[in-house]
Symmetry: C2
Subunit: 200 residues, 2 copies
DNA sequence: GTCTATATATAGATAGAC
DNA sequence: GTCTATCTATATATAGAC
């Protein structure tokens, strides 16, 4: 029985791959164990041999995907240089890598959509993806003396919040045609807001 | 057959109330027409007499809830006064009214979670809730000469994006214990960022 | 460990009585 | 218009053969 993605043999990964395709496409309740088994190329009892039940498989899958995404979000962790350049690069990278990543968008939809019924999984998302990103940026901002951020932690939430909101509205919620905007304008405004000289 | 919430008799509303409770709690695929009928206090064929099928009922419900929320989000539309005061009040109101509104959070979870399979409903959310809020703030910012916002539309997205992200992370995704923050700090930082004197 | 076959429950949707 | 009763499909989960 697989409880943690830390220990995964070949067949467990094979099942998780099939489960990923189905759950990301059809949500938790919309996914049947029959289709998971078929997509994974195994029989249904084999699925139940590796995972206790549908909920156990789902939890293992979310953890599996979150761990995969974890490194990517952090980037190389190399936040060095002048604030205008660093912040611009950080936001540009986030938008470019997520705005057209359909798998990531479906992952966000799935975790957000199930956050009421699976609060622990939503918390794992916050702990392993959201919080590290905010903390990393906040730590960088703390080291910058010549920017407009008396509260670096709150400022980091503003910067990343605006970025996440942009991706959510434009792509996840399909708002690109309804309220279109060149991502560059958001980046420019954010850099402009944060890197001005602080109040005298 | 009810197609639009614009024309709703008593029984249709009664069914929508039951549907709201079930869909907001259990999601689309997790909701059965049996439970909708039971919660609404009618029989299943009666539900099908007023709505074509499960999908038709769901679409009508989302439109119904979105229209109810539409006015509330806009507030009284009275954005007048000095920018520090107006922006502070706007964000504070949004956070106070949404951060602990469980129905609203479940509505966000539902629409976001189904946005991949019901893109039209997500677009209605953007068109009737997100876009009006952004436009209203952008219009106000355009009229302010003494603030730090060369691009009012992008700045409005930063302000509302940071606010929505805060509510999403703290409440919807249950992150309050993982990355706690007093909402006042976010409000202060946003007001501070936007209302500084523009670059010389 | 992995399969075929199946038990049991519940889903969406409707026929037909009133 | 509204109900009880029902049809058909499919869901989760497992028994038992290999």
């Amino acid at each position: 029985m697989v409880q943690s993605p830390a220990v995964l043999n070949n067949k467990a990964v094979q099942i998780l791959q099939g489960a990923m395709q189905e759950f990301l496409q059809n949500g938790y309740a919309g996914t049947s164990m029959d289709k998971v088994a078929a997509t994974a190329g195994v029989s249904k009892p084999t699925v139940y041999n590796y995972f206790k039940d549908k909920e156990g498989l789902f939890r293992a899958l979310i953890q599996y995907v979150a761990e995969s995404r974890c490194q990517q979000v952090m980037g190389d962790g190399n936040l060095e240089g002048r604030p205008e350049v660093v912040i611009r690069r950080l936001i540009t990278n986030a938008i470019e890598s997520e705005l057209h990543d359909l798998d990531y968008q479906n992952f966000v939809r799935l975790v957000a959509g199930e956050s009421g019924r699976f609060p622990q999984l939503a918390q794992a998302f916050v702990e392993y993806l959201t919080k590290p990103a905010v903390d990393q940026l906040a730590d960088y901002l703390k080291g910058c003396s010549d920017i407009n951020a008396p509260d670096p932690e709150a400022t980091a939430r503003v910067v990343l919040g605006a970025t996440v909101f942009f991706i959510m509205t434009q792509s996840v919620m399909h708002g690109e045609t309804i309220m279109p905007m060149d991502p560059q304008r958001l980046v420019d405004s954010l850099v402009d807001l944060v890197t001005r000289s602080p109040t005298l």
